[in-house]
Symmetry: C2
Subunit: 458 residues, 2 copies
Amino acid sequence: MSIYPAKQHLAATAAQLGADAGVILVFGGSTLVHPDSDTEYEFHQDSNFFYLSGVNEPGFAAAYDVASRTAILFARHVSADEAVWIGEQPSLRELCATYGFDAAHPVAEISAVISGLRPAAVYTLPESAERVAALGSGSWVLPEAALLRAAVHEARVFKDDAEIAIMRRANQISSAAHEALMRSARAGDAEAALRGRFVGLTLARGAQYEAYGSIVAGGRSAAVLHYTRNGGALADGDVVLVDAGATCGGYASDITRTWPVGARFGAEARAIYGVVLDMQRAVLAACAPGRLWEDMHALACAEAARGLLRLGLLRGAADSIAANHVVGFFMPHGIGHLIGIDTHDVGGYPPGTPRIDAPGLRYLRARREMRARMAFTVEPGLYFVDAVLAQARATPAVAQHIDFDVVARYRGVGGVRIEDNIVITESGHENLTTCPKEIEAIEALRAEAYASEATTVA
Amino acid sequence: MSIYPAKQHLAATAAQLGADAGVILVFGGSTLVHPDSDTEYEFHQDSNFFYLSGVNEPGFAAAYDVASRTAILFARHVSADEAVWIGEQPSLRELCATYGFDAAHPVAEISAVISGLRPAAVYTLPESAERVAALGSGSWVLPEAALLRAAVHEARVFKDDAEIAIMRRANQISSAAHEALMRSARAGDAEAALRGRFVGLTLARGAQYEAYGSIVAGGRSAAVLHYTRNGGALADGDVVLVDAGATCGGYASDITRTWPVGARFGAEARAIYGVVLDMQRAVLAACAPGRLWEDMHALACAEAARGLLRLGLLRGAADSIAANHVVGFFMPHGIGHLIGIDTHDVGGYPPGTPRIDAPGLRYLRARREMRARMAFTVEPGLYFVDAVLAQARATPAVAQHIDFDVVARYRGVGGVRIEDNIVITESGHENLTTCPKEIEAIEALRAEAYASEATTVA
């Protein structure tokens, strides 16, 4: 396995910081325990620390001396008693080799090692600020922690080749699990059983954990945007929306597929699905350096308006539909977000960028110009949320464009979303998500699920 | 589904408290977010609050008026905007019915509702103490939070029929998954793949999450007691130790099985396995009201000494082996612990009970007299931990009893543990764990794994 480019990330962060001297010093996460219990939360490393260290264990710290370009790892101490329970730890020399650092010391030596560098300043993150101040005991110059935070965030926005390779793998593993569900799930299966199979398959292929709470929403439940209860069962005639992604090698994937519980899409679901697929195609075709992310949202809305006009759910002039944000009542979320170590990755709103207060756009998680090596989700969707449609009905400028009788015929579809993960390239984008989304391909997989008696989800 | 007996638990806690007036007021857990990220930790309710409310959602509180025996639920507020994302919430009336409470109010009304009861005192838990003090704004009498904590802990020690039924189900689901692994895993499979399959199968059958970090340890890795890295692959000739349990309906299961990677146990593994099985049989036969838990540990050690003497790993007199805690160097953990909502459940050391400072016993997680309705794990094990055996060699009183040449022949076994979950009954115990542990039954399952070409773990 190649070494995670932590040292390059420390250098990229120092460059963003614009500092030519001083030391960056950050602490990793600790083991977290449930209240009044000794049950540990599954350990997930703090994202910024993972980016700067590649270490996925509790109790570590990392430093970078900007002028000499020296990366220093600080390893937790494991006592002989503890080693009986968690195993012998690698030597400091082995840790350097594993993580690509120039030096390694026990965490107990942080203060001495850093002071020995006589740093002009010690930059740290808000989460580490108190501990760093205590270690410096008044003798270190400590710039505002927000400075390093902004620098790390901006560095994290641009994925290097190693990160893209990891994200490709995370997408492949999650895509394969999505495809396995489409190939095997049947009417009557519990939503929780599909989630279980997704988690089991991705863990078995090397994933660390779910990147976020999986959504398996049959029928009307897909109209609840963050439906993670997964408490129902799949009903024939419905579509099921599966929004699930595994974190692998520290990087999230975030994929949604919507498919019929039976072997084929019903007429209404097929029509809505086709519109959402058109929305995604329109956005993907436009993703390239120099384009604005909020324009991708607008593109998706324009395509949705065309489709919904064709189907008769909307009526009136396209420019008035756009001006009144009518599509925002059918897609009450943003077109996508940056993705990386975090599912909703950092850097979507550079300092000073305001949110746009309009239906749908309000929840847009990024507003900036696309540039090569940025990674985004592209996740158009159309939903029939009663409460949101009631708002639309109560807003005359919006209601004039909606034929609520036609909408009522589509209500049973619940919601459709199609979500892929992409990386912006010099000339356009690379789509990392590999599972089928064309109607014919999905129906072929669904036919397989019903072809064999032997297949079961659990 | 029957209603979780939260109200009975509030009453049992009030009885333990010895109070005949006043109000119990406790807060449930909140959603926890990773540092500098919007990624939520999977929500696990605080154990004490779950016991007193049955609510497995963030943002709730519960109260109990001791004199009038009134159970009052306080429900989080979900705004219309939020409902689009997480769904419409049940009404207060529906919440009362779901959780078996007498009344329900929004959390915003806690202060008014509790003050309206004119309570003689407001009992709360340490985790809630600050918020309760703020709500009372000086006008409530607030006894030490440690009082309610001790009362809840003692009430939780004794499982009622509803809790035992849930634990039976958690054990069945986990047992079936253990059996599925034995029936399908093969040499070459990744340890992580077995964990993935375990998690997937249990989630698919209704489990909430792993009760603790699963251990899948092939060969020498089983000599690391809390090996959760699961980074290796199964090698023919080894045994694999699988310690995994799902939480279902709020209650943990905690099961270990050890089995050959090939179709049959090798000679050394079979011998050690037989001794561990004898240890468990001896303890289970003795589990009954009135017996002391630390005596179960001693029983297991005595049985282990007999077995290891027979095999030639130990030598000398049984009483000297016992007096020098020689078996503690082969089983450096306790014989078991209380289990319930938490894997290591509360109440193992009633106030004033000291730990015993001796090898193995040092880590015993409970010291008390068994009584009906207590639930325990019974988990004897024998391990060949180099560092621990080096300590034994350096301790003359211990080393005289060990034939290190014979021990060296068994080192490759790594470790063997067999762990079941039991409930103490009036006459003895009920074993909740249903997966096979007899050598013949295990080898029959292992033969199945190699019988068909179609079976794979992932």
